[in-house]
Amino acid sequence: MTVIVLERVPTSLRGELTRWMLEVQTGVFVGTLSALVRDLLWEYVCERLRNGAGALIYQTNSEQGFAIRTCGPTSRRLRDFDGLQLIQIPM
């Protein structure tokens, strides 16, 4: 399962994403994508964010069972602790 969360992005980008994923709530997308499609789609999203921000969460075979990627100025920051991903709320 792949989840993409977008904030402050152009409507056209959200529309584009709904071709692959379900928009469960505004800016929250869920879908089942292959690793290749997911990476290409994420690249596409990152290019078209404008001033918005986004986070990608997908299942992997890591200890946590999932991985997170972010792009754009989000209100949270991704931190890595020796391979364990946690979220920081900046000062």
Partner: protein
């Protein structure tokens, strides 16, 4: 959450292996745990976490320790890079069943020898001949360890000049020895957390003896040759930058790949031949539940009862 049902917590097998932090303040935040440093606040899902390693420069509040203890996260205070252990917190069971079993095996030399033989037996692919003396087994084990180092050295091309480190000067050791120390320390932490989580004592060792962590060394030795030795050589083959961090990252992947957390409690139970355990006891559902009183005839009798209030004939009846 006070009065937390321990069954709500992920088992050792399902949790995240460890989190090592340094130079930050840890306190309770919105009923969870958060790390604070200059750059911000990082909440930690502590119920999912098996082990929290506190490195230098960490401060932790009383409330945070309480939350961590309630969620069964083992806390270890360690030196830089998680190497060296200073103190420990509490594990994930309130039942003393396993501890009593361990103490019984440990205090009877014949039973203890059986455990030692089982501990050695799991390290060799072929069964150990029953006529081998302990001394001979130790010799065989020495050869096995030497071969593990030689094999790892051959496979990675990292030269091996023996295990050497100076306790007073970490940087003086060669990279592979430093990688070994960092990986072993991570492994000790996981073993320590599993031992505490299952309700064993880290001090009642079988092969090792005399230290408060003897049993941790016993259990870690089951895995070293297969897990941390190859990993340390692999880490030392690449450049020296961020060696300790790289080792911990490799450790996490390797623990996951080898399903260490899923195996470790079973492995400990197996070498101690614990047999079938009763399912969760009342103590695991209610940490505040009363334990029992020992009785030479009945085994256990209820506590929290004032035996002075019982009629005299019942008191007399208890005498043989």
């Amino acid at each position: 959450m006070s009065g937390l049902n321990l069954r709500m917590l992920p088992k050792v097998r399902d949790s995240w292996s460890f989190l090592y932090v340094e130079r930050c303040r840890i306190d309770q935040e919105d009923r969870a745990i958060a790390l604070h440093d200059q750059s911000g606040t990082t909440p930690v899902p502590c119920a999912s976490l098996n082990l929290l390693m506190l490195g230098p420069g960490t401060t932790i509040t009383h409330a945070a320790v309480r939350s961590l203890a309630e969620s069964g996260t083992t806390i270890l205070w360690t030196g830089e890079s998680g190497v060296r252990l200073y103190a420990q917190g509490l594990g994930e069971t309130r039942s003393a069943l396993r501890l009593l079993h361990q103490a019984r095996l440990c205090s009877n030399p014949a039973l203890r020898l059986n455990v030692v033989r089982r501990m050695y037996a799991v390290r060799f692919p072929e069964p150990l001949a029953s006529d081998l003396t302990l001394r001979q087994i130790r010799g065989k084990e020495g050869i096995r360890v030497r071969e593990a180092y030689a094999r790892a050295s051959r496979e990675t091309g990292v030269t091996w000049q023996g295990r050497a480190y100076r306790r007073d000067d970490w940087r003086a050791a060669d990279p592979v020895n430093r990688a070994l120390s960092a990986a072993n320390s991570c492994l000790y932490g996981i073993c320590h957390a599993a031992i505490l989580a299952a309700g064993y004592s880290p001090g009642l060792g079988f092969i090792h003896t005399g230290k408060l962590l003897s049993f941790v060394y016993d259990i870690a030795d089951l895995y070293k040759a297969d897990l941390t030795v190859p990993l340390a050589f692999q880490a030392a083959r690449d450049n020296d930058d961020g060696l300790e961090t790289r080792v911990r990252r490799l450790c996490r992947d390797m623990f996951k790949e080898q399903r260490l957390l899923a195996r470790i409690v079973d492995d400990i139970d197996r070498v101690l031949d614990i047999g079938d355990l009763p399912p969760a006891t009342e103590l695991d559902e209610d940490a505040g539940a009363l334990g029992a009183l020992w009785d030479p005839d009945a085994g256990e009798i209820a506590s929290g009862v004032n035996y002075a209030d019982l009629p005299d004939d019942e008191l007399d009846g208890a005498e043989p």
